[in-house]
């Protein structure tokens, strides 16, 4: 046992004229909530489909609980719950029938009845009122809830969810995130998303995929810390023409970006010694000799969030 629920080595997926994944090396620790991020078309869904045997890799390998996804897919699928990006079911079936039908892939009907599985899971996803209505009349959000329910109906060791909160309203999103957090005790949750706020809220590990390449991977805290260092944001008034070169010369300042406005200029100062910056930065600015006094309108320590890192690593301008 490796301690990893998912491991991929040099995973490649090519379609005619397109390389969707370019040698992916990914490790998802067991009992983690792992957010798999990337812009549209980055290759997230392709990756997830390969893990559950819906697509075959062009090269490289992938293992789930040490089982090869190509040769031991049945063993893998018996331990995995999968939610597709836009879950679809047979429209004539009720939610209860969908869940019963799904559960029978894993256990006998008598076990399902004895365990009261279906009612329990319907309650968890909040579909009690709709349980006996045909799925064809469900809204996108209700289908999504049902999709989450069917993915976990057999209490899998690993949940693979493709955009689980995408079609949900804020309450639905909150509920799904809560479900995912509760599952952490017993399962590993590997999910793709572009809702960065959700990732930061519930995930303990993330990977960022861009154009088929993994550009960042690890615990969220580490990824946030791995950036260029603490950053201070200031808004200044007055003659600041030569201030930049003065500050750049300080040992503990890494870089400075200035955006000049009509009256106020916005400064982003990256530092390599946060303590020193907290103590000295304001003093350096206030005491800098100029013709007119420099006024500090705003001074904040900028907290880097996942969205900024995401934008940075996928090559977008956050401004």
């Amino acid at each position: 046992m490796t301690g990893f629920a998912i491991q991929t080595h040099g995973l490649v997926k090519e379609f005619p004229g397109v390389v969707a994944l370019r040698g992916l090396d990914l490790q998802v620790p067991e009992k983690s909530i792992f957010g798999f991020l990337g812009p549209n078309g980055a290759g997230k869904t392709t990756m997830l489909k390969m893990l559950v045997g819906l697509m075959k890799p062009t090269a490289g390998s992938a293992h789930i609980f040490d089982h090869d996804v190509e040769t031991e897919s049945m063993k893998i699928r018996s331990r995995v719950g999968y939610l597709a990006q836009s879950p679809k079911f047979y429209d004539h079936m009720s939610a209860r029938q969908v869940l019963n039908f799904t559960a029978k892939f894993f256990v006998s009907q008598s076990e399902i009845d004895e365990g009261n599985w279906i009612d329990d899971i319907i309650k968890v996803v909040g579909l009690e009122d709709k349980a006996d209505r045909p799925v064809g009349g469900f809204s996108g959000g209700e289908k999504q809830r049902l999709g989450i329910a069917q993915a976990q109906v057999h209490q899998p060791d690993l949940l693979i969810l493709d955009e689980p909160a995408a079609a949900l309203d804020p309450i639905g999103r909150r509920d799904v995130l809560k479900i995912m957090e509760n599952l952490k005790e017993t399962s590993t949750v590997f999910y793709s998303t572009h809702i960065l706020d959700d990732v930061q809220r519930v995930s303990d590990q993330v990977a960022i995929l861009n154009e088929g390449v993994l550009v960042a991977q690890g615990p969220i805290e580490t990824i946030l810390e791995d950036q260029d260092g603490p950053m201070f944001e200031l808004k200044l008034k007055g003659a600041t023409e030569h201030l930049k070169s003065h500050l750049t010369a300080l040992d503990w300042v890494s870089s400075i970006q200035v955006q000049n406005g009509n009256d106020v200029s916005k400064w982003q100062i990256m530092v390599n010694d946060k303590e020193m910056a907290e103590k000295e930065l304001l003093r350096e600015i206030m005491n800098y000799p100029t013709e007119t006094t420099i006024k500090v309108v705003e001074f904040t320590e900028k907290k880097i969030d996942l969205e900024e890192i995401f934008m940075k690593v996928v090559g977008e301008d956050t401004s």
Partner: protein, 211 residues
């Protein structure tokens, strides 16, 4: 020849029966089979089912057997039972059941050929347009075009249902109780071979379909 063969059982009923068990169910089979796999793929239900611990072979066999059985029962067996009752009602005595079942079996195999071909096309194309086009093209070749080519009567499936050249259709020969030699049964053997090959190809292709 057709008229002569049907003498004693009622010309109209006999003629309609042969058309009914031969041509119409084949068209029905194409219409039913064209959407089975395509719909599962495009609607996303195949993705849902195949993410569970089930083999693709099991999935495709379940679809194949349930749909083909449905076509045979509704398009061949039930009309056949009705026709048998009608034929006996308008003729003296009882029409030999074995011969009648022989014709129905032939019709079932004929239907299966078109069903299996259309099913195969459904694993190749992801849209019903090309599936229907290819399947009706296949149907037209064997029911309209091949019978016009002399010397092919024992080497195609056309003669199962329609006459070819100077040879009567196998269905009508069984219906009228003609003695048949091995060479007369070749179209049936071809048909069975077609069904097996098309079905195996569909299984092979679906194993490789990416969902």
């Amino acid at each position: 020849m057709l008229i002569a063969a049907l003498q004693g059982v009622g010309e109209e009923i006999g003629f309609l029966f042969v058309i009914f068990v031969g041509v119409s169910p084949a068209i029905g089979a194409i219409i039913v089979a064209n959407n089975i796999i395509v719909k599962e793929r495009t609607s996303g239900t195949a993705e849902w089912i195949l993410s569970k611990p089930i083999t693709r072979k099991s999935f495709i066999w379940a679809k194949y057997l349930s749909a083909s059985l449905g076509v045979i029962v509704t398009a061949v067996l039930i009309p056949g039972v009705v026709a048998y009752i009608q034929i006996n009602a308008v003729t003296d005595g009882v029409f030999p059941l074995a011969r009648f079942l022989g014709v129905l079996s032939l019709a079932a195999v004929n239907v299966l050929v078109y069903f299996a071909f259309t099913f195969l096309m459904g694993t190749i194309f992801s849209d019903t347009g090309p599936v229907l086009g290819a399947s009706f093209g296949f149907f037209m070749i064997f029911l309209s075009f091949m019978p016009l080519i002399p010397g092919t009567e024992n080497y195609t499936i056309s003669r199962l249902i329609v006459p070819q050249g100077t040879s009567e259709s196998l269905a009508l020969s069984i219906f009228t109780g003609e003695n048949l030699g091995f060479i007369d049964l070749l179209p049936l053997l071809w048909a069975i071979l077609y069904v097996i090959v098309f079905t195996m190809l569909a299984l092979y292709k679906f194993e490789r379909v990416e969902l």
